[in-house]
Amino acid sequence: MIRNFFIISMRRWLRDPLNSIINVFGLAAGLATTLLIMTFVMHETAMDKQHKQGNQIVRLVQGEWGLHAPALKYTIDKLPLIEKSARIDMQYGKKSSVRYGEKLLSFKNLLFTDASIFDIFQIEFVEGSKEQALKEPFSLVLTTTQAKDIFGDENPMGKIVRYGKSYSYTITAIVKPLENTHLSFNALALFDDIPLITGQDDFLNRVDQWNYHYYLKLAKGVTKSEASKAINDYLAGKMSWTNGKEPAFALQAIDEIYFDRSIPYEFGIAHGNSALVRSFALIGLLVLILAMINFINISTAKLADRAKEAGVKKTIGCSKASLIRQFLGESVLMSFMAMLIALLLVELLLPAMRNMLDKPLFFDFSNPVNLLFVLLIALVTGLLAGIIPALMLASYNPVDILKGFSENIQKKGQLRSFLTTSQFVVSIGLISVTIITWQQFQFLNNKPLGIDVQNIVYTRLSPEIPNALNAFETELKSNASIEKVALTNAIPGSITWQESFEMDGATKQFTFLPTTPEFLDMIDIKIIEGQMFSDSEAENEKSIIINRAAAAYFGWENPVGKIHHSESWGTVKVIGIAEDFHYQDATNIIGPLIIMNSKRYAMIVCVKYNPAQAKAAISHLEEIWQQFSPEFPLEYQFMENSFEKHYNEVALQGRVFVYFSLLALFIASLGLYGMAAYMTNKRRKEICIRKVHGASVIELYRLLAVTMLKLIGLAFVIASPLGYLFIHQWLTDFPYHININLLIFVFAGLAATIIALLTISGQLIRLSRINPAESLRYE
């Protein structure tokens, strides 16, 4: 019996290949899209979930701070509720390089940390052991990829590399890189090496310098709140450096860090965007539902074709249950076929998506959970799509069916009208949401930053340069291709230094940028009141410029000329107000900013070049760099690009979102095509009779279109408010966003109409070629 229905299914598909392809591939495309989205969603939500005893691993935070002082560790280690603690420095090693023989290689992520890190995180050793790895000063642990970069096929264990100018590091272990984590590294060295390298003898006992991440492993059975209470209780009254306030440390579970963006003061932590992940999940679900509606629609539409078969079988004595099994089986078989194709598509498309999103996305076929999930989707889709036609076909009276072409079957179209309308609802919703999403991303991309970042390259100063800073600057300027050279602490896009100032008797928090007038001039910051920094600065007071947002934020009427006293900065005087510019990425709101004239904190050198001589400028920079800093490879970036980098996440993921929306639309159109084909076919007899009696093509077209237009009208009324609500909610996540143009919904309705009318036209052309006499005889 199974063979029998398998044969019927196959032959039926082969007899109507176009519809079969639309049906199977439509579903396959839908399933593939859903699976692709799912890999992304699963990748994002699986972050930091790989650690054994992961529920015991936490990060220490205090208010908006994720960073703490070096000395805190010695206090924390005294608490019995905390089994292990490790500090991580992400700055010193961020821009570092090692020399091995003639090879000079830069590290992207060298972390200085405590050996206890191996007891906290699940780090897998390929060579060496966690006991020996970071036992001695100047030990270096490399990841397998980093080891391969430096040593190729040589055995790296015990080899010595030179770090900076004069430190020799011994390779003591090779570990596998941590995957799916907010915290990535290529190499690990001892935290206690920092004072040796930087020459700050008292470094480890410092209680100020809040620059280091703390990861803790709690003792078994201890909750986060118990542990944080213990820390706060222990530290109460002992921390002179919390300004007399009670310490308020809190603990963050390791798998919460990735999506938690409420801690602005931290370094080097990769974050995901939970709102976006949710949007993706939503669109994945939508695509799956769309594909399923298509499948159900086409399956029920073909009901009449199957009626004879059902009737004959029933007459012969096939039971209702057996018929239901057959039709269900067939649709499940079809959905499994679609799933197979979908898995193939996923394998084909995943590399592209991996590249686009720059995430290591994989669909793990060996994971039984994944397989089960895939099987379940296929099974449920097949059952849902098959159950309606199966029940309908099985419940028809064979007499009705075998009398010939049953009008009864044709008239039970309310369900299909409902499904078609829902398809239009989703299509209209998708079109409008996609357009508005796209507009929002365009808006963000084109949003004026308020500064000029064109034709500027920048690089972080290497440790060798500060000693000869003036000479370095002068040499750089000596080439005609270079227009300006400026030093700064940070560049727009990543100005994150937070500082508090005593102002009007209260402590106020600002974003802080120590920089030079040359830099402000280079990026064309406009002073709207007061003046720019000048050389003739009073010795005993520092000049600051505030941004417009700062003046507004604190409600200062005439801030220029005001003098403030700050504990850490002494007397400061506001000499000007700068026009607001985006100093973090453009999705962030512009907050209060203080700019101070100071070369002392310069970490970055920027070079503005003549765009006609870009090549000459870069090679000059390389030449001078080599001269002043031979031990460190030059790694320069274009300010324009680096600013874009901050949009990357939003822009890229936004683009992918738009791609998926388009794909969803395509699937919806496929479904509409199938429906139009069905609707015209269903009325074939009627059309032929009308033709015989002299109906023109236009009249026939009107006849078909009216039915479709009614459904679209209804869908429009439902989809527009839903779409509006969704997109309105979505846009409120962005501090800067476009206003929704209501005409877009009208446009979406029109677009759906056009798609529908086009598909009807295609069908009508086919029908107009049919000889009515033949068709009527057939009926």
């Binding site: 019996m1 029998n4 044969i7 019927i8 032959r11 039926r12 007899r15 004879k308 078969e309 009737g311 004959v312 079988k313 029933k314 007459t315 012969i316 004595g317 096939c318 039971s319 209702k320 057996s322 009276n397 064979p398 007499v399 075998l402 009398k403 010939g404």
Partner: protein, 228 residues
């Protein structure tokens, strides 16, 4: 074998009530060949559907093989059908996606016969209907007469006690029509009860008895030849 007592069938829609059969009573014995005749709309096919257990009567009693079946469930009727009744339709009603062989095999599958026995039996019947050479063809590749022979083969393959034929020659030319009638006649000679709805006076001569219906009532029963 068949006993109909005051069989009534009423079709209702929102506006109209149509009485298709009005208290029809008759008996048919095992081995008979009965033709049911009458003008279009007189209730012939309705009667045949009730006799074939495809439909239940609205009133009256219907006993099939000495059992009252007028109010049977769909499942009971399906079981009775597959074991005892074969159908031949005017428009053949073959499944287009199945070959001749597979179409004929279908009733045996639902009877749960093992595949080897099925093959033997199907080939036997196809030989008997002289259509074995087309067993791998699809219905649409055959002439009308050939299609009807396949339909007859399908009706008899399970050796049913009763064959119901609804205008079996309606779609055939006279030569092919005669072929089919001869097949039915042979089956009857070999003991199968046959009830046939027909418009054709000529086909009716194959029957031993003709029941004439008009407006849902029997107006005349006459015997065309002696029951053997």
């Amino acid at each position: 074998m068949i006993k109909a007592e005051k069989l009534t069938k009423v079709f209702r829609t929102d506006e109209v009530e149509t009485t298709a059969l009005n208290e029809v009573s008759f008996e048919i014995h095992k081995g008979e060949f009965v033709a049911i005749m009458g003008p279009s709309g007189c209730g012939k096919s309705t009667l045949l559907n009730i006799l074939g257990l495809l439909d239940n009567p609205s009133g009256g009693k219907y006993s099939f093989l000495d059992k009252e079946v007028g109010k049977s469930s769909e499942r009971q009727r399906a079981n009775l059908r597959k074991e005892n009744i074969g159908f031949v339709f005017q428009n053949f009603n073959l499944i287009d996606e199945l070959t001749v062989f597979e179409n004929v095999e279908l009733p045996l599958i639902y009877l749960g016969m093992p595949s080897k026995d099925r093959r033997k039996r199907v080939n036997e019947v196809l030989e008997q209907m002289q259509i074995a050479h087309r067993s791998k063809h699809f219905p649409l590749q055959l002439s009308g007469g050939q299609q009807q022979r396949v339909a007859v083969a399908r009706a008899v393959v399970a050796k049913p006690a009763l064959i119901l034929a609804d205008e079996p020659t309606g779609n055939l030319d006279s030569a092919h029509g005669e072929e089919v009638m001869n097949l039915l006649n042979d089956l009857n000679v070999n003991g199968t009860t046959i009830i046939m709805v027909t418009h054709s006076q000529r086909d009716a001569t194959y029957a031993q008895r003709v029941i004439r219906l008009f407006d849902g009532q029997i107006i005349n029963e006459n015997i065309t030849k002696n029951i053997l």
